[in-house]
């Protein structure tokens, strides 16, 4: 029975992990490498399907994740816990799993052409990518810091590799090294923080930590320096992964240097996983202390919004600009955590869940457009290279404009709803001034997002620029169906998503709310 439950909970992760192995095995025996992408995508879709199938299981059940005195409890039923309480499944996790798998699928679509053109090994790539997703799923379902940390590392380590996947490229390998050093550093810090928490509370399970903290608080010890250090170390681990200032510095370099599909994946999925995983950890394990956490996070959030947006202004390399923009978005997302902490309400968290999906759509789209342009002609990711795109590649330009508008947060796009929901949470938490800061910063961000649009439409291309063939054109296999279709498909899917969800955000809003549904009924 116990095992049975564990398997149920783990099932999406297992499916994805098995797919990873399968992809690598098939890679060994099959010459046609384009099958691998299909296989990986199928694995991810199966994982998502399994998760969706589990969605209905817990409606109306009792909540296990008893959290803090304000009454915030997280969904999930005891019956769904597995492996000695190390993992637990709930709507929250299901939402996250589906999100990760969906991002994974789009990332696979974006990657295939890129890899094929450069002659890079695709089997390992997809294998690693699927393992990363497995790690993310683990983060979402963990209810124990051990499981959490292992999942965290399962996600992180392959990411270092993917960042340097085109290892002969100096920039890619440099990105990889920087990511590795800072990442491992932060992992160690996180681990030490978790160890100190364990030392303070004597427990590794979220529930145990919460209970321990409650005991400490009752004894008047909760505020001592020991715990402060422990909390800060954990927050550091979180801030690093979501690239919050001042733990962000790796992000621009890594995003710029890493292969573009990997950048897209990191900017969306890894960030999402970090938010999902840490949100669960923070709220379930330390929810009672969250009001105070929130105040600390305000500093982070403001710094992140300001520095991310301001540093994006002078960037003329689009990948780098998007990196800073992704930092800025991390700042907005952090507002959701703060709001949830301040108000003791779950709106902030569901706002984060919604925003993550929205952000994934538009950001994957934007990176996808870059990949697509690069697949069609020589392009160096510079702003100037976009000049005249509105005339040369009208469809692409329209989509790019759509993604930029969405990133700015203008209706009727999904990015607007993300911001709206987030600001709603912040204002409801009584932090209107913080929302004003965010609003001012998003006005600043409009400048650099719209600059992309104006380069595409208001400027003319230099003579002959568009006519050049792609730089790395040799390595395409003869006879294989054009992998460009994958890129185009991903971009179009993202574009449609941005628009359709922008016009009819109801279902996604419902899902994001429903992910925390059990809280309400108790």
């Amino acid at each position: 029975m116990e095992l049975n439950n564990s398997v149920t909970v783990l099932l999406p992760g297992v499916v994805v992990a098995v797919s990873a192995v399968l992809v690598m095995v098939v890679d060994l025996f099959l010459r046609r490498k384009d099958v691998l992408a299909w296989l990986a995508a199928a694995g991810l879709l199966c994982g998502a399907a399994v998760a969706i199938g589990q969605w209905g299981e817990w409606t109306g059940g009792a909540a296990v994740w008893r959290v803090f005195t304000g009454g915030l409890t997280f969904g999930g039923r005891e019956a769904s816990a597995g492996f000695a309480g190390m993992i637990g499944h709930d709507h929250f996790a299901v939402y996250a799993v589906v999100l990760f798998c969906a991002i994974g699928v789009l990332a696979v679509m974006l990657s295939d052409e890129y890899l094929a053109r450069r002659g890079a090994a695709r089997g390992e790539f997809y294998g690693l990518l699927l393992l990363i997703v497995t790690g993310m799923i683990g983060m979402a379902i963990s209810t124990d810091v051990i499981a959490f940390f292992v999942s965290f590392e399962l996600m992180s380590l392959p990411t270092y590799v993917l960042a340097g996947y085109i290892w002969r490229d100096e920039r890619s390998s440099e990105a990889s090294l920087k990511y590795f050093v800072t990442g491992a550093f932060s992992s160690a810090i996180l681990a030490f923080g978790l160890a100190l928490l364990y030392a303070a509370t004597g427990a590794t399970s979220y529930a145990g930590i919460a209970a321990g903290l409650a005991r400490l608080q009752a004894g008047g010890l909760a505020a001592d320096g020991f715990l402060v250090v422990a909390f800060v170390l954990v927050v550091t681990g979180f801030a690093f992964k979501v690239s919050a200032v001042p733990f962000h510095s790796w992000a621009p370099d890594v995003y710029e240097g890493a292969p573009t599909p990997v950048t897209a994946f990191m900017a969306t999925a890894v960030k999402a996983a970090a938010f999902v995983g840490f949100a669960k950890l923070f709220f379930v394990a330390a929810g009672a202390q969250w009001a105070d956490w929130g105040h600390v996070m305000i500093v982070l959030a403001i710094l992140t919004m300001v520095v991310g947006n301001v540093l994006a202004l002078p960037q003329r390399n689009l990948k780098r600009m998007l990196a800073y923009s992704s930092i800025a978005h991390a700042g907005y997302l952090t507002l959701g955590l703060i709001a949830a902490g301040k108000s003791g309400d779950t709106v902030g968290v569901s706002a984060i869940l919604f925003y993550l999906a929205a952000y994934a759509l538009m950001n994957l789209g934007a990176f996808g457009v870059l990949i697509w342009i690069r697949a069609r002609r020589s392009y160096d990711y510079s702003l100037d290279g976009l000049a005249g795109l509105g005339r040369g590649m009208p469809g692409t330009a329209i989509l790019m404009a759509l993604f930029m508008v969405s990133l700015t947060g203008i209706p009727p796009t999904v990015g607007f709803w993300g911001k709206f929901y987030l600001f709603t949470a912040v204002i409801q938490a009584g932090l209107t001034w913080l929302a004003i800061v965010a609003v001012v910063m998003s006005a600043v961000s409009a400048y650099y997002y719209l600059r992309v649009v104006w380069y595409m439409y208001f400027r003319e291309a230099e003579e002959g620029a568009a006519a050049e063939a792609p730089a790395e054109g040799a390595a395409l296999e003869a006879g294989a169906p054009s992998p460009q279709a994958g890129v185009a498909g991903a971009v179009v899917i993202a574009g449609l998503g941005v628009l359709i969800v922008g016009l009819l955000p109801g279902p996604l809003l419902d899902a994001a709310k429903g992910a925390l549904r059990l809280l309400v009924g108790g």
């Binding site: 051990i146 490229d169 050093v181 491992a184 550093f185 160890a195």
Partner: protein, 102 residues
């Protein structure tokens, strides 16, 4: 002051030494080693807690085991990345890797 405090203090010192190494050493190999040191400090803290803290769950040891495995994987990946960089640049001085900036 109980024993746990001293163990944790040692762990903290180890951790700090590791952190200092990461921040200060210019040789990438040494940086990677410093990272390992930090993880080992964590292990020490975990094991010490599991042993000396009253009422602690035994899971600390389990955690330490996991971290040992993770550390191994990390070293393997780290060194591979270092080698890739060395091939491109012919140096392991970490501060020379600054093509990406701004």
């Amino acid at each position: 002051m109980n024993a746990l405090f001293w163990w944790l203090l040692v762990a903290f010192l180890l951790f700090s030494i590791g952190a200092f190494g990461v921040l200060a050493r210019r040789n990438v190999i040494l940086v990677v080693m410093s990272l390992e040191l930090m993880l080992n400090a964590v292990n020490l803290a975990l094991v010490a807690t599991a042993n000396f803290r009253a009422g602690a769950e035994g899971a600390g040891v389990l955690f330490a085991l996991f971290i040992i495995v993770i550390a191994a994987a990390e070293v393997a990946i780290g060194l591979a990345i270092v080698i890739a960089n060395y091939r491109n640049r012919r140096t392991v001085q970490v501060d020379t890797y600054d093509e990406l900036k701004g």
